[in-house]
């Protein structure tokens, strides 16, 4: 890395000496953006913004090759106005929202531009032609934001509508609980001040009038879930909740009709209110994590460029490709389809599929797979397979087989409910039978006592025990850039005894770095040539050399190397064959890895060796995990020498190279059959089945789409420490959940005997239920309190610029 001279005035990234717009800007794009804002009089943006190092730097992509067909997802309303939903990447803070909206509203065609800061989505309405959209959004793109059109119907439906329903139920329950409680307090006060029977009955009737319809509506999420569970022959937490609420309301109604003094309307509706709060917050926390994960995925989405028989180019979505179509893959672009190369020669980075770190040479006739990256030269590819015939769908099949094991996992709350429900229900029945037959009171009074048992044990604290902890744990991880997508992920994470790592892109950054110290003048010459190329090895050379000016007159031969004319003859930089270096040329061959040769006329060739470097904190992370006695394994699709090297450096005793996706998944399956619980950490398409098979799984945000979907947890940033952070939070959360269950049971141990013996009144029930819920919530909040220190350590202050943001 270069020593930063100063920060770019637009994007805040360090400016290097080789920047064309030094010393103020890191690149011409940033200089252009700054100038544009100056012209528009919006430079106050720079004063009010706060750069978030976790968000991609606001650098306009000069070499952004794939664009989108923005008109495809635009819809036109009956009034002739057009609407489009876009994902926005690069929002750092509220000032970015302001800037985007202001930039768009400067265009008189724009009717509405509103950025949702939570989901980082933009809704745009404009009048005029549909095709104007590209002109409208150009200023925003020039600022360095990336805009990706999406179909809201495909993304939001499930979680958002469910959460909105919960919020509506919560509002209804809250209204009813407040009003019923108001009446109930009067009734309780009436016990002591001698309220007349008629007034009490009137209050009960009004309470019934409010509580019954409210509970019928607000309880729907619980009733549905309970019915579903019973139909499948299972018991979950919602069964005792539903039963408790319905019986309490039914009994209270009967009591009211008979003019008896005790009614439990307030208990039933407050119970629903509390539980809905827990459930809504839980759903919202997971919804945030999921929408962040969707956001990351959509950033990888790319259109493909189809070349029509008449030579015109058209951007289409990858799923619209048909066999026989010719697709153009530009240099640096991710290939979107499986196919056969018909024209062009290039290097293909296949690490995401095979784990192989050295790019593969591709010629006409070679097969390429969706997900790989075309590195050096444009390729024309004929689409050979779509839909069910692609490599990806093969992986999906493997994943589905592997996933069945995990589907059997039962959440701790449901396990508790399974043990708890029969005990409570039989206890209640015993109370009824006991009072009626042995106690010798009327069946109505016996039923009263039995239902009181149900109400008092009604699992308010028990049902809140898990969700409140989950909310706080997921929120804390979300702030650290760790997205928990699955509801039971944290629970499963606490059980793991071993961790299985993938190599390329997981333990390593997936970017090659120069190894060793070559002679200074050779390095400068090579880097000067390399500055003309986009090949990852060339970029690594430039990074290693530091201040480099690109040499003029350098030609690139795709798949081979670079050539320029020196005073004494051609100078070549490229593969061994390209530089005419014989196979047994003297080279310190103990270092293996991708290599480049520099040959000058009359001088011995120089060899540059590269290595895929480890994530910077990988050694500490592995060390910490080893000290905790976690068994670690390295499974890679890469060649043996590279894998061994890394395993030995990090001190991972078990490693296997050249693993196929099936072998990886089978390895995990075998271990889990032996009773071991593994956490799989991987990023490649070849890791997806293993991610699905493992007891728990994590993926970096740079991972392939399918792997991110398969993983329970996605972590952002360059730090592998996210693995430890996630395990730590999961363990703390687990112990808090257990404490909460213990507290709930302790509460039941005290109250059940009172209920069985018939001493419970509605006032007592209300106090007991509220206090137990509050204790459980307060206990869960302890996770929040502890999060202060680690949070500060992992999130750098927003004003301090970090190099990793742009990496």
């Amino acid at each position: 890395m270069n020593a930063p001279l100063q920060s770019c005035r637009h994007c805040g990234e360090p400016v290097t000496a080789m920047s064309p717009a030094a010393p103020d800007f890191c690149c011409a794009g940033c200089a252009g953006a700054y100038e544009l804002l100056g012209e528009l009089g919006l430079t106050s943006y720079y004063k009010r913004r706060a750069i978030d190092p976790k968000v991609r730097a606001l650098r306009p992509d000069e070499d952004e090759v794939a664009n989108f067909d923005f008109t495809e997802l635009a819809s036109t309303g009956p009034d002739g106005n057009h609407h489009l939903n876009l994902m926005v990447d690069g929002i750092h803070c509220a000032a970015c929202v302001w800037l985007i909206e202001t930039l768009l509203q400067r265009n008189s065609a724009v009717l509405q531009a509103r950025v949702n800061m939570t989901t980082r989505r933009l809704r745009l309405s404009w009048q005029g032609e549909v095709a104007d959209i590209e002109d409208i959004i150009r200023p925003v793109m020039q600022m360095g934001y990336r805009l990706i059109p999406f179909d809201p119907a495909a993304l939001e439906q499930a979680t958002t509508s469910r959460n909105k329903e919960l919020l509506r139920c919560l509002a209804v329950a809250g209204f009813a609980a407040g009003n019923v409680m108001l009446l109930s307090v009067s009734v309780w006060a009436g016990y002591f001040q001698g309220m007349g029977g008629a007034t009490r009955d009137l209050f009960h009737w009004i309470s019934a009038l409010i509580a019954l319809p409210a509970a019928a509506y607000a309880g729907l999420p619980f009733y549905r879930s309970a019915l579903g569970a019973i139909r499948n022959g299972r018991v979950n937490m919602d069964v005792p909740i539903s039963l408790g609420v319905i019986l309490a309301l039914g009994m209270s109604l009967a009591q009211t009709i008979r003019g008896e003094p005790h009614a439990y309307f307030d208990s039933a509706i407050t119970l629903l209110f509390f539980l809905l709060i827990g459930r809504y917050l839980d759903g919202r926390a997971r919804g945030q994590a999921r929408s962040a994960a969707e956001h990351l995925l959509s950033l990888n989405a790319r259109s493909i460029t189809v070349i029509e028989p008449d030579g015109t180019r058209r951007l289409v979505a990858p799923q619209k490709a048909r066999p026989g179509m010719i697709v153009l893959a530009a240099a640096g672009e991710r290939i979107g389809i499986d196919g056969k190369v018909v024209e062009g020669q290039s290097d293909i980075d296949t690490s995401i599929i095979t784990g192989e770190s050295i790019p593969e040479l591709t010629r006409p006739g070679s097969t390429v797979f969706a997900g790989t990256t075309n590195i050096s030269a444009p390729l024309r590819i004929e689409v050979t397979a779509t839909g069910g015939n692609t490599l990806l769908s093969e992986i999906v099949r493997l994943m589905e087989n592997a996933e069945q094991g995990r589907a059997r996992y039962v959440a701790i709350a449901d396990r508790v409910a399974k043990a708890y429900a029969p005990v409570v229900h039989s206890l209640s029945l015993a109370t009824f039978v006991g009072w009626w037959l042995i106690g010798g009171i009327g069946w109505q009074d016996a039923l009263m006592n039995a239902i009181a048992v149900l109400i008092i044990t009604c699992p308010c604290a028990l049902a809140l025990a898990v969700p409140v902890v989950q909310v706080i744990a997921t929120g804390r991880l979300l702030r650290a850039g760790i997205l928990v997508k699955s509801a039971t992920a944290l629970e499963r994470l606490t059980k793991i005894t071993g961790i299985i790592f993938d190599k390329t892109g997981t333990l390593t950054t997936g970017k090659p770095e120069l190894v060793g110290q070559p002679a200074e003048e050779k390095l400068m010459l090579a880097a000067g040539m390399a500055a003309n190329s986009n090949h990852p090895l060339s970029r690594a050379l430039v990074r290693a050399a530091g201040n480099v000016t690109a040499l003029p007159n350098v030609t690139e031969q795709a798949g081979l190397g670079l050539m320029t004319r020196g005073p004494a003859g051609p100078i070549r930089l490229g593969s061994r064959a390209f530089c005419d270096v014989s196979e047994n040329a003297a080279a310190p061959s103990d270092i293996t890895g991708p290599e480049l040769w520099l040959s000058e006329p009359g001088v011995a060739p120089t060899r540059f060796v590269f290595r895929d470097t480890m994530r910077s904190d990988a050694p500490e992370v592995i060390d910490t995990l080893r000290k905790r006695g976690i068994e670690m394994t390295l499974l890679s699709g890469d060649r043996e020498s590279t894998v061994r090297q890394l395993a030995e450096t990090l001190g991972i005793p078990n490693w296997q190279a050249r693993m196929s996706p099936t072998q990886k998944a089978n390895h995990i399956q075998t271990r889990s059959d032996a009773g071991k619980h593994d956490l799989m950490v991987g990023d490649g398409i070849n890791d997806a089945p293993a991610l699905a098979a493992a007891h728990a799984s994590m993926s970096p945000a740079t991972a392939a789409e399918i792997s991110q979907n398969a993983a329970d947890i996605v972590f952002q940033g360059d730090r592998l420490g996210a693995v430890i952070e996630a395990i730590d939070v999961a363990r703390k959360a687990n112990s808090l959940v257990r404490q909460n269950f213990a507290l709930s049971f302790a509460y039941n141990v005290i109250t059940i005997p009172l209920a069985v013996s018939g001493f419970v009144t509605p006032l007592f029930a209300a106090i007991a239920m509220s206090s137990s819920s509050l204790i459980v919530i307060a206990n869960a909040l302890r996770l929040h309190a502890k999060s202060g220190k680690p949070d500060k350590a992992s999130t750098k202050p927003a004003t301090k610029l970090s190099q990793q943001a742009g990496a």
Partner: protein
């Protein structure tokens, strides 16, 4: 007693009014972006040309 007959319906009516207002706000999308709403109040429109101001205030969510 008769004051109860007046006060209880009034209390319920006010409560229902609040509930209705909340449900309306929810339906009109005002709870979609809590983070943005918290920050939006800090935007000032100094830099926006006067002609654009009128539009800015009129563009509520549909």
């Amino acid at each position: 007693m008769s004051n109860l007959l007046l006060l209880i319906p009034i209390a319920l009516f006010l409560g229902l009014l609040g509930l209705g207002a909340f449900l309306w706000a929810l339906r009109s999308g005002q709870f979609d972006d809590m983070e943005g709403a918290a920050n939006r109040i800090l935007f000032d429109d100094d830099d926006v040309k006067p002609s654009d101001n009128s539009k800015k205030f009129n563009q509520g969510d549909s």
